[in-house]
């Protein structure tokens, strides 16, 4: 392939990934690395470098929209970013130490897990509990606009959430993804933060987490401008299109299709990792 063909095809593929990622709420980053490595035969390190850059673009772009709506909790986000950024730095450091095949297998597991999380219906038992003293001390309890006025919520299990966030950061740094699914699990499941607040705060945090490993990637030479350019522009346009259509479409069947795609990519990555297809 020549420069023009390659750039155009990568741009088009990234646009579709960004579009479906934002439409389904699963994020485009998670399919980008398999797309680049499996279909475009890009080396894993260049692929995660380009993916990570696009993650910063979509997170910052969409966070701008969410922050204004008043759902994201900036204090929770900032406190947990201590965990995600330190984790991300550690993950990025590991990328040079862990063999590519092992990274591919870990990636496959994360892909399959995020497909599973997106299919699962979440039973939530919201029983009123007294406020958690740690969360209160950290001024994390908040409120958000609801159909019936302002809804207040309390935050629980801060250390558990902090721990899961560290893992989410490490995976983000190791794999060049946003780890949005795991961040939501930490806040929604562990810390009992309302789902809407969890997803928007997670989105808000993804950019900062990714920036922590991007510096390491940059100094290692993982970020190639000629590859990252079409990926970033494609994902950005795709995800902006996704947020515009989001309100109008029925996303249920689309989520299913995208989950199937993720599972197939996960299995392909797993196979590549196990058979030593990556260097």
């Amino acid at each position: 392939m020549n420069v023009l063909e390659f750039t155009f095809l990568v741009w088009a593929g990234s646009l579709v990934a960004g579009f479906l990622g934002s439409l389904t709420g699963l994020g485009g980053g998670v399919v980008l690395v398999p797309l680049l490595t499996v279909f475009f035969h890009v080396d894993l390190r260049y692929a995660i470098g380009a993916s990570l850059v696009s993650v910063i673009a979509t997170s910052s772009g969409s966070a701008a929209a969410y922050v204004k709506e008043g759902f994201s909790n900036i204090r929770i986000g900032m406190f947990l970013e201590i965990a995600t950024t330190i984790g991300a730095l550690f993950g990025a450091y590991l990328t040079a130490k862990v063999p590519a095949n092992a990274i591919a297998i870990i990636f496959a597991i994360v892909l399959l897990y995020s497909a599973y999380v997106s299919r699962r219906t979440r039973p939530r038992t919201d029983v009123e509990q007294p406020p958690d003293p740690q969360a209160t001390k950290l001024k994390m309890n908040g409120s958000f606009p609801d159909t019936s006025g302002v809804r207040h919520y309390n935050v629980y299990h801060v250390p558990a959430g902090f721990g899961v966030m560290w893992i989410a950061g490490a995976l983000s740094g190791l794999l060049g993804i946003g780890s949005g699914a795991l961040k939501v699990v930490a806040m929604d499941q562990a810390m009992k933060i309302p789902f809407k607040v969890s997803t928007t705060t997670s989105n808000f945090m993804i950019g900062v987490t990714a920036a922590a490993s991007a510096g390491v990637y940059l100094s290692r030479g993982y970020i190639d401008p000629s590859l990252a350019m079409p990926v970033m522009i494609g994902v950005l346009i795709g995800s902006l299109m996704g947020t515009k259509v989001l309100v109008k479409t029925q996303t249920k069947s689309l989520r299913l299709v995208f989950s199937v795609v993720i599972v197939l990519l996960g299995l392909e990555m797993m196979l590549k990792g196990l058979t030593g297809g990556l260097k």
Partner: protein, 129 residues
Amino acid sequence: MTMKPLNDERVEGLIANLLRAGVLISALVVIGGAVPYLAESPRAHVDYRTFHSEPDNLKSVAGIIHTALSGDPRGIMQLGLLLLIATPIARVMFSAVAFAMEGDLMYVGFTLIVLAVLLYSLFGSFLIA
């Protein structure tokens, strides 16, 4: 003081605009490098199969700025990507100032820890890389 009080809502609005501006500016710079890059040698062969790291002038903040200013298309694209990486860092700096103006010293502390990690990654990570 004629300035509006810096409440949470106003801070959130400012953060949203900062993020939007950062992404827009970096995308424009990346496109500004992409046009001459694609025009330069559109028929050249590409191969990303093997990793051979980027040249030194595209790996450090100082090197990227220098290369971009010399008009090199790949340098300009890399500068756009660097601006994109800097956007969340600017957001964290802004948060530190906002928390300080609210008098929330505990959160100023937390924000500065995050900022230190980010700046270390961008400027000091070659020590471990």
